[in-house]
């Protein structure tokens, strides 16, 4: 076997000729299908590949893309953001989080507003950075506002393991880890949404295994393919869906074999098991309460749990007027139906989370709008 270079891994899976070849093949395969296949891409990473590489245009006669709830930033309910803001405003607290989280507005403003008013809010590249911040600031409490799906949960567990092992006393966790299959199920139960197939995110399954979709696929009999994020991976996954639809099958398949197995990363799963348990219910922005759809720290780690250490209120917070993020996240509407899109709401002045998050759907439509 030839030695594979990193460059090939990047370019090979983005090669324009292969993209065209796959779209031709998909169109050929789908020739006899009577209607478009309505496929939901669960994760915003896929939405971005679809729009960035013009996949929606290349195979528009075969697929209608429905955008899913798959972004931990987009689905973060405002009451949780309010918690983050309240914690950041506590005395002697440093609040650290990942991604676009600090820009999402809530009823108490955003974390970035809190920062401009003097709160110590930090954006970290990795949870590991918390160790350093805690050591450099022994007199402060460092709170990790942990977000993300199955992909980022084991890193929070691994951080807590280090905290315990090294006897670090000044790191607390505010856990907002959510699971992918429960919202998929919730969406299917919504009468207003009609979905024929799912493209499921590969990174989630690198950790959790493709097995997490199995119960759901057999219960709802809906084709589900775990696919990578490179355009060619995604196209291969879509081709697998066409095959299933043509043969009236509804199976779980894995396109991203180069890193995803059925079982997933068992060590990561052990760590999650050790520290976390299911929450009875979690509020998803746009979808509402979904039972057993998120995690929290187990009772025996209560001393590390900012939700137990601080007194944090549970409030219901309304969405900004005119913003239809909730409908977008639940697959009922698309950004172009939002009256604020591109006029009042832009990436530089976002109103809702789907525009704030760099992987949000409105952001993708704005950025690649010329491809619509």
């Amino acid at each position: 076997m030839k030695m594979l270079e990193l460059k090939q891994l990047y370019q090979g899976f983005r090669d324009p000729k292969s993209i065209l070849a796959w779209s031709e093949k998909i169109k050929q395969e789908a020739k006899d299908l009577k209607c478009k296949i309505r496929v939901m891409e669960v994760c915003g990473g896929h939405t971005h590949s679809i729009m960035k590489y013009g996949i929606n245009q290349l195979i528009e006669e075969v697929f209608e893309f429905i955008h899913g709830p798959g972004c931990p930033v987009c689905i973060m309910p405002k009451n949780r953001i309010n918690h983050a803001v309240l914690l950041a405003q506590e005395e002697n607290v440093i609040l650290a989080t990942l991604g676009d989280m600090i820009r999402i507005p809530s009823s108490k403003g955003s974390l970035s507003d809190a920062r401009s008013k003097g709160a110590d809010v930090r954006f970290v590249y990795s949870p590991l950075d918390l160790l350093k911040i805690a050591k450099e600031n022994p007199n402060k409490t460092v709170i990790y506002f942990a977000i993300g799906f199955e992909t980022t949960t084991p890193m929070s567990a691994a951080l807590l393991e280090r905290v315990e092992r090294e006897g670090i006393k000044n790191i607390l966790f505010h856990i907002n880890h959510v699971l992918v299959p429960p919202p998929m199920e919730a969406i299917l139960q919504n009468q207003d949404v009609h979905i024929d197939a799912f493209i499921a995110p590969s990174h989630v399954s690198v950790i959790a295994g493709s097995k997490i979709y199995e119960p759901f696929v057999s219960k709802y009999r809906i084709p589900t393919v775990v696919a990578g994020f490179e355009p060619v991976d995604l196209l291969e996954g879509l081709w697998m869906i066409v095959q299933q639809v043509k043969h009236r099958e509804a199976r779980l398949e894995n396109q991203y074999k180069r890193s995803v197995s059925f079982e997933g990363n068992l060590l990561a799963q052990e760590k999650i098991e050790h520290y976390f348990e299911l929450r009875e219910s979690f509020m998803w922005r746009g979808i509402g309460e979904i039972p057993y759809s998120a995690l929290r720290l187990k009772e025996k780690f209560a001393q590390y749990d900012a939700e137990r250490v601080y007194d944090l209120p549970y409030e219901v917070v309304k969405e900004p007027k005119g913003c239809i993020c909730p409908q977008i996240i639940s697959g009922v509407a698309k950004p172009l139906s939002c009256k604020l899109f591109g006029i009042v709401c832009k990436p530089t002045s976002p109103i809702g989370s789907c525009m704030v998050s760099s992987e949000g759907v409105c952001n993708a439509y704005f950025r690649y709008g010329n491809l619509l």
Partner: protein, 82 residues
Amino acid sequence: MCLSIPSQVVSIDEKNNTCIVDTMGTQREASLDIFKEKIEIGDYVLIHIGYVMNKISKEHAQESLELYQQMVEAIQREDEDA
């Protein structure tokens, strides 16, 4: 936020359970705390927020790339015949 980046292992620090990886010319440290398999210099791995999540199977990657290449060639042949 959570797209993972393919990178290549450059060196391994067993004591701290970390490694240095190269992502298209940028080197950085990554934790091996959630990775159980044996890892070697030269392996391709997926990095996510500072952690090695998994290896990338070179065999599978190579197989896919070869399949795509064949598809491209088949389509080019059709075009020439047409």
